[in-house]
Symmetry: C2
Subunit: 434 residues, 2 copies
Amino acid sequence: MIDTQLTAARKGQITPAMAAVAQSEGLDAEIIRQGLARGVIAIPCNPAHACLQPRGVGQGLAVKVNANIGTSPDRCDPAEERQKLQAALEAGADAVMDLSTGGDLVAMRRQIIAACPVPVGTVPIYQAAVEITGQGKGVVDLSADDLFRVIEQQAVEGVDFMTVHCGVNMAALERLRLEGRVTDVVSRGGAFMACWIIKNQAENPLFAQYDRLLDICRRHDVTLSLGDGLRPGCLADATDRAQITELITLGELTQRAWDAGVQVMIEGPGHVPLNQIVTNIQLQKRLCHDAPFYVLGPLVTDVAAGWDHVACAIGGAIAATAGADFLCYVTPTEHLALPGPKDVYEGVITTRIAAHAADVARGRAQSVARDRQMAQARAAMDWETMMSLCLDPKTARAMREGSRPQEDEVCTMCGKFCAVRLMRDYLHPERKKV
Amino acid sequence: MIDTQLTAARKGQITPAMAAVAQSEGLDAEIIRQGLARGVIAIPCNPAHACLQPRGVGQGLAVKVNANIGTSPDRCDPAEERQKLQAALEAGADAVMDLSTGGDLVAMRRQIIAACPVPVGTVPIYQAAVEITGQGKGVVDLSADDLFRVIEQQAVEGVDFMTVHCGVNMAALERLRLEGRVTDVVSRGGAFMACWIIKNQAENPLFAQYDRLLDICRRHDVTLSLGDGLRPGCLADATDRAQITELITLGELTQRAWDAGVQVMIEGPGHVPLNQIVTNIQLQKRLCHDAPFYVLGPLVTDVAAGWDHVACAIGGAIAATAGADFLCYVTPTEHLALPGPKDVYEGVITTRIAAHAADVARGRAQSVARDRQMAQARAAMDWETMMSLCLDPKTARAMREGSRPQEDEVCTMCGKFCAVRLMRDYLHPERKKV
């Protein structure tokens, strides 16, 4: 059997993936190996994903950004999905999840894996749901074999990480029922499992047969992304007994995965009031023994529809500063419609701002240095260097070109009243250009 | 002499402005009066601003949002400025500052005051600078009389609050020189005063003759917005000795203003790493005895050009949660160009998301209730109510209409796989529509 990055790390081996991550992070490969061995770093890296340039997620690494793409039953255009993938990559996404639920799912996923140099994630139950509803049955009619067949298929194809809602079990669902939530379950996969449990009066197969899942992941080095199926769908439901019960289960499943040599990340909320975000991060880190934390937002308000990428950036920046390792973007169309390529681009850039702000706040040397270089370029009115240091040079250049100043040194905001130039001329006249 | 809102409050009077603010905040007018009397609430409300509907800023009130509009020497179109004012108001700005430095400044300002139902702020030294440079001289050639003449003129016209850089004095400038900053001074008004001091080797008239300023503000009930002329222009300069020296001076000037019956707000940074924001807020509140705090951002990274409204929303949400009272927006074109109407709209909405997230985090009952109502509407798939509760219904409606689902209950993100509907059907079948 192959080694996973985790089992290799435990044997003291530095794999090519570890070396590549070490180089891109500017860290010693031995640091990466130690983090992997402890489980606090994951490198989602399925050997069957041929064109992958591995990225690491976790303690001591730069905060990473994921972009969700994929079709829906109502909007299904393979060409648009290719554009969305390109938009995500152009904007600098560190990972892409194919969440397709419309059209030919297998063809879509193979196309994405073949074209995507960053890790690719999926939620296998979506394919299982599409297949069974295509037979005129319901999601609640799925068998355990249906589910594991799809998981194995996707592992063979090269999916690097999979979201599985193993923590939505009968005990957690009972906590949810007694809690009396406003928005019950808003995770699609979580809702599938919850309805399955209610209808079948039986335990979630992904929980009951977790070892079967671990076996597949171990053989293909698929990183588990333990989904938070009961994540709060509104601020009023945040940090409640149902959410924390599921998180405790995910912590136990994390240790079982590590024992089986399988890499793990934990997914997190969701909709969370700003003042509860740090608590959520500390709780996850403690309950899951510092496993990498992959947060979906968190969104700091429920009323920002049309601008949820901004609500997500606010929450994501705070979460990542407090220790979250991986931010799942949200696009402007969240809660309203499936995103298009422009929405994907905006979502990635916005989330990268949050990730970078957190890297700076956490004192990551390369990130701090980038901001300082930008400040020095501003002081020198060196526009070319400013543009090259922007997180989104394309947009920045277009804005400047769309409103040209009369003098190249300044911009149209202040024109001849530019504070930076005034200060240079009076405080540092020796720097004046001749 | 007229009473200011502050002197009236001290006499135990509840003015019409206090009553209006109390009603819009859902608070007892006596609470507003007490806050005004202590200086922890300001109601910028010049009696000459005839169409003003007063807003309050400060302790216990909803966080407010300001939009900067106005021309520059390089981009000066009165019609566009009218559009920018309308965009700011449509997006829900609580205040507007006219920062014009191009064209006919007096006409522009009068037009804005006449059309603007929210408080109008200015930076009078801009007009003084435009006038003196129009005479072929430099900003450094301004006299104290030039400055105070402009301030008096704007007070008579009805400006509700004025930013004055009184804290940029010789002592603070010496701290800046010894500090060795990366971006020295990035505030326009701050740079004007700093250069004036350097060139004239004399003290800032706004500091040296502060009582003259107080006299004008006292007679017209102009609220002082004590500008942070030495605010950091990059993360590397944040919270340094120059900034804090100026802030200590602003604290002393705050008490002198209160003693003179003049309302005061304090302006704050600027560019600040995320992990220093709470410190900045606590420091301002303590050094300025809980005077209302008006923050410009803070921007949590220097490299977000093209998306600085997002960097601003992240910082603003954290600052307001920690106690900042008033958020000055930043638009997408910050650091690149003068904003247009669309940029103004985006800047206001983005900053309102930050303000609202902070109101929720601070436990403001009306704000928490709004998010809960939105969550209830989502659970009920009641789209009309969802739209009406959005901070930006126009944009949200357009996104939904641009991507219509096959079934009206859901959206094109999940279509028939809608988690909310699945949960209703299995967990709450009694709620199913017939």
